[in-house]
Amino acid sequence: MAVSPENQDKGELSLTVNGRLRSVQVHPMARLLDVLRHELHLTGAKEGCGEGECGSCSVLVNGELVNSCLVPVLQVEGARITTIEGLAEGPELSALQKAFLECGGAQCGICTPGMILSASHLLTKNPNPSMDDIREGLAGNLCRCTGYMQILEAVARASCRGPGA
């Protein structure tokens, strides 16, 4: 992206979002969260705290979990981004999404996309997590409805169903 220091104009930048190459006209300091929501109309990632405490804006960048509210978009130029919209295969929900439904892991739904992305990241790195591993993997995601137990149970259930969760 060619942006001179004297120039505050938007620049063109490409990134692969949920497997699809996308090109956006953005300010380099725009937050990845805002680019996803406002430019690409992917509103699954939510803004909770806006300061990296609540995890509701969690997405994957090249497979790594990040808080998209803390990522200037220039730093993810050319990267692969996965949001909650990218987990289901057509109408078929992912194993984690199904487990969240079955276990009552979602209530108001604000934290759910972030919870599921954190859980997906955890299960990719550690397919057979202990309950402590699950708690640690989701420790950066706050929920004010469920009391967490249903969420932890959903992740454990998805992990029992093997890879691809």
């Binding site: 200037p72 220039l74 708690r135 950066g140």
Partner: protein
């Protein structure tokens, strides 16, 4: 969000030389941004004074951990997740592994960097007492060249440090050879996950012939800077760990710190906890310190 990204410049030159040239040519004008876990919080809150930012995220010259016979060299751009995954750190510098695990949740550990934590200079950062305990040295780089400085004394006051305006922290060096030591790390916060410390402590020690041969004690969140208790260490040196000495150490620790009341805790509580942690460490040193 209380700011407009249109008001800010961000560039990513991609090479260290280009970044230090920029810092040299326009000193004080450009704010380096690595993983953004501190800078982007200030940005979104509308409190980021600097309008020009230069990305140092993923700069190859600031990545990776190099293991040499006598020391390890940690690229300042290493994230906490990367530090947690390093076997040499887990086996020889376990206090750093603990601090990395305690710093934020996984998403922040994937972006927060050790160099970033040093220059952000929060007195509550969990990794900084660890660097004091291991007597880290920092390699600072600028267009003028490199210089190596001890981390002890790097912070001169609240968020002030011995870093020139054209310099970056490039590498953190830790001398090897702590295998015979008792390693102690403890974080006291409101909850286990994501909490910023009310008090944190990192300490190392070794006994020989029943007396303390070497000891380092460092505390966070109890003063404007991460604090090493050198006076106390001198008093402990060469003595057996006896109840009277522990009592004296607890008093000296409380006297050495300058805790404050803030949103996370009170000066009184911090003082009591700091004393307790020093006492707990010395008891562990007494019980385990002769094993090596």
């Amino acid at each position: 969000m209380r700011c407009d990204p249109a008001d800010y410049h961000l560039i990513a030159p991609g090479k260290l030389e280009a970044v230090v040239s920029l810092l040299a040519n326009e000193p004080g004008q450009w704010l380096p941004i690595a993983g953004g876990t501190d800078v982007m919080v200030q940005f979104a809150a509308g409190r980021l004074a600097s309008r020009k930012l230069v990305s140092i995220w993923n700069l190859p010259e600031m990545q990776g951990v190099e293991t040499l016979p006598d020391e390890i060299r940690i690229g300042a751009g290493s994230t906490y997740s990367e530090l947690r995954g390093q076997v040499v750190i887990a086996s020889e510098f376990p206090l750093l592994t603990s601090a990395a695990r305690w710093t934020g949740g996984i998403a922040n550990q994937n972006r927060g960097t050790l160099g970033g934590n040093i220059v952000n200079a929060s007195p509550a950062a969990d990794s900084l007492p660890v660097l004091l305990a291991y007597e880290a040295e920092l390699v600072l780089v600028s267009l003028r060249g490199k210089r190596r400085v001890p981390y002890l004394g790097f912070h001169t006051g609240y968020k002030t440090m011995l870093l020139e305006r054209d310099e970056l922290v490039q590498t953190i060096c830790l001398r090897r050879g702590f295998s015979g030591y008792v390693h102690y790390a403890r974080k006291v916060g409101a909850r286990n996950a994501q909490a910023i410390s009310k008090v944190c402590m990192a300490a190392l020690g070794r006994l020989r012939g029943g007396v303390i041969e070497d000891v380092r004690i460092a505390l966070g969140s109890v003063a404007p800077v991460p604090l090493r208790l050198t006076e106390l260490e001198r008093v402990l040196q060469g003595k057996p760990v006896e109840p009277k000495l522990v009592a004296q150490a607890r008093e000296m620790a409380a006297a050495a710190i300058e805790p404050i009341d803030d949103i996370r805790s009170t000066a009184k509580y911090r003082s009591a906890v700091a004393s307790n942690l020093v006492g707990e460490f010395l008891e562990q040193l007494r019980d385990k310190g002769n094993a090596a």
